[in-house]
């Protein structure tokens, strides 16, 4: 099997297949749904009724739409966080932890000023969230900008640190004395809840939408965004035309953390109502997939976030039928793998080379296939 696989070579197509990333995403979705059918059949579930129920839970009514869009908010903001860093070629794997840090920041503000009026308290909490997310990203940002330490591992490690900080808080100093010994913080004050929009949706949806649109415009139109993309494509060019890479790396990574932090703040003031250990819900990790599927473009992030919101809400909807909600995580990962594959095959095609040429180590390098340029 390995020999067969390695005897295949990718050759660049003369012209990429049309459709680009939308086609790749569609293929990924189809692949995921198809594999999902196999998985459901294998475990004795009815795939048609399962998918039907998922679709209905996600889009079947105004209430369903409100759930889907509300879930798209943290996914979109986390996706934006990853995309911002990604447009400069940096990886923020720490969105999950930064969402937690944001929620902690917002909860802290509410603890400090529980009697503040809503119109003051909510913005203050969201600022606290932004600061919290930014602070968690500051360490990796400084380490990368000053010392060249890979931000991939540092941001990844801080996820686990952030999870333990919130676990410590809700089990210790911030534990609700009236919470029946559950590891939960007290509810945030009533006036700290985000106003509703329609059904289950709150104005967090508008806030996230505005942030994504404004920032998307900023990246694609402003001089700052242009510099960002130059720095991402060629460090030497960037330095040559006088862009300070250190400042850019620092700004971009901290900003990335701030977007994820905002997601945590909106979650706390919008849907969660109290700090719990699972406040980030895996959305920081899903945000990485969202950003990758959107090719690090803010406009695409919004669209993919809504699609993933639907998959997740659909997953919750089938739980009542006894089908585990983990099917939605499976589908999300498979969409990504399918789309990654489809994207590659959009630009390359498989050609089989003589196994003898690659198989044996004794083959002189001169016999290597001259497939393409």
């Amino acid at each position: 099997m390995i020999r067969r696989l390695t005897s295949l070579r990718l050759a660049r197509r003369d012209e990429p297949l049309p459709g680009g990333q939308v086609r790749a995403f569609t293929i990924g979705l189809l692949v995921a749904l198809l594999l999902g059918v196999i998985l459901l059949l294998a475990t004795g579930e009815n795939p048609i009724s399962t998918y039907g129920r998922m679709l209905d839970s996600a889009f079947g009514s105004p209430r369903a739409w409100s759930n889907t869009l509300t879930r798209a908010v943290p996914l979109g903001l986390a996706g934006l966080a990853v995309a911002v860093a990604g447009s400069m070629g940096l990886w923020n794997i720490g969105a999950e932890g930064q969402i937690i840090a944001g929620a902690i920041g917002a909860a802290w503000v509410a603890r400090l000023a529980p009697d503040l009026a809503g119109p003051l308290l909510i913005p203050a909490m969201l600022i606290g969230a932004v600061v919290g997310g930014g602070l968690l990203a500051l360490g990796p940002a400084l380490a990368r900008a000053r010392l060249g330490v890979s931000e991939i591992i540092t941001t990844l490690m801080l996820n686990e640190v952030a999870i333990r900080i919130v676990r410590y808080l809700v089990n210790g100093p911030w534990k609700d004395p009236e919470g029946n010994n559950f590891p939960i913080a007290p509810e945030i004050p009533d006036q700290a809840r985000l106003p509703g929009l329609f059904e289950r949706a709150n104005i967090g949806l508008l806030i996230a939408g505005v942030v994504i649109v404004v920032f998307g415009w900023f990246v694609s139109r402003s001089a700052w965004g242009y510099e960002l993309r130059i720095a991402g494509s060629s460090e030497r060019t960037a330095e040559y035309i006088g862009i300070s890479l250190r400042t850019k790396i620092l700004t971009v990574l901290v900003m990335s953390g701030m977007f994820a932090g905002l997601a945590g703040g909106i979650e706390l003031t919008g849907s969660a109502s109290r700090l719990v250990e699972g406040v980030a819900g895996g959305w920081g990790f899903a945000g990485i997939i969202v950003a990758a599927l959107a090719l690090m473009r803010p406009s695409g992030v919004a669209a993919v976030a809504v699609a993933f919101g639907a998959v997740q809400i659909g997953g919750l909807g089938i739980q009542t039928q006894g089908v585990p909600a983990s099917i939605s995580d499976i589908l999300q990962a498979l969409i990504l793998f399918g789309a990654l594959g489809a994207a590659v095959f959009g630009n390359y095609r498989l050609v089989r080379t003589d196994p003898a040429v690659i198989g044996g180590r004794a083959t002189p390098p001169a016999a290597a296939p001259e497939g393409a340029a």
Binding site: I2, R3, L5, T6, R9, L10, R12, L39, T43, I93, G139, A143, L147, G148, V149, S150, I152, I153, T154, L156, M157, L158, N159, E160, V161, R164, I165, R167, Y168, N171, G172, G282, F285, A286, I288, I289, A292, P324, S326, I327, S328, D329, I330, Q332, A333, L336, F337, L340, G341, V344, Y348, I358, G359, R361, T363, P364, P365, A368, P369, A373
Partner: protein, 310 residues
Amino acid sequence: MNEATLLGLVIAIIEFGTLLYLAALGELIAEKSGVLNLGVEGMMAFGGMAAFWAGVETGNPWLALLVAVIAGAALSTIHAVVSVVLGADQVVSGLALTILGLAMAAFLGKDLVSKPPDAQFRPLDLGPLSDIPWIGETVFSMSAMSWIAGALGLITAFVFTRTSIGLALRAVGESAPTADAAGLPVIKIRFIAVTIGGALAGMSGAYLTLLLAPGWTEGTTAGRGWIAVALVIFGAWRPGRVLIGSLLFGGLIALEPRLQTFGVDFSPILISMLPYLLTIGVLILLSIRSRHRPSPAPAAIGQIWRREER
């Protein structure tokens, strides 16, 4: 603190060390070939679920171990195909593998929750050796899995430094184009390295569900896969140092529930952050040091390589 609690601590350090070392060794082999696989947590969970299922079905821990190895390796081939053969980004592919592995384990393992374990690994009784005070009760009473983990570490170190296969693996991890020019099958070597990494992560998962915490529940891996990723860096990509790191981080995990018994008034939750913070510290030290000395990291790690693009 009495002797029994201290003995218990040493045994727990060995047990958690074994768990971490198996997974970290697998990640080390993949990274040495130039492939970062952030899917360890997922492969560990999937392997652990598969092992527990096979244990319930057959009652034989060795058969269960085999199933876990196959499950971990099979899952890792997705990462190998997507990131090595097709050349997609290793970071995204690996993270998606973790999400997939955790979800598949939860989905397929839903009926296994709260089932009693039928197959378990037991401490190995080495006769008179196990009767020696202290060392007999700890080292010579380890389960066979700990011996296997140690042996695999020795084999890995030997292969890395003393064999042509190891040289080829490291060459591929340092520079794919150079290795390719020297006639090495880059993609084949990386594919196999990733698969071995998956097999070891699966083995680690089996150790978890058959010995360390017999049973299956969602979230039983509890972030240990990420510690394995951290350990490779902490151990500067060397099997021996990764072993020391595994025992150290394993020791921290073992300390968590025992702090109070030892009369230390400090939150065990905060102790559990230390492996991650220490790894960040080591990364920073390595990068400061690498201004004068070459970095121990495989140079080609994370780099996409397609043969045609030379």
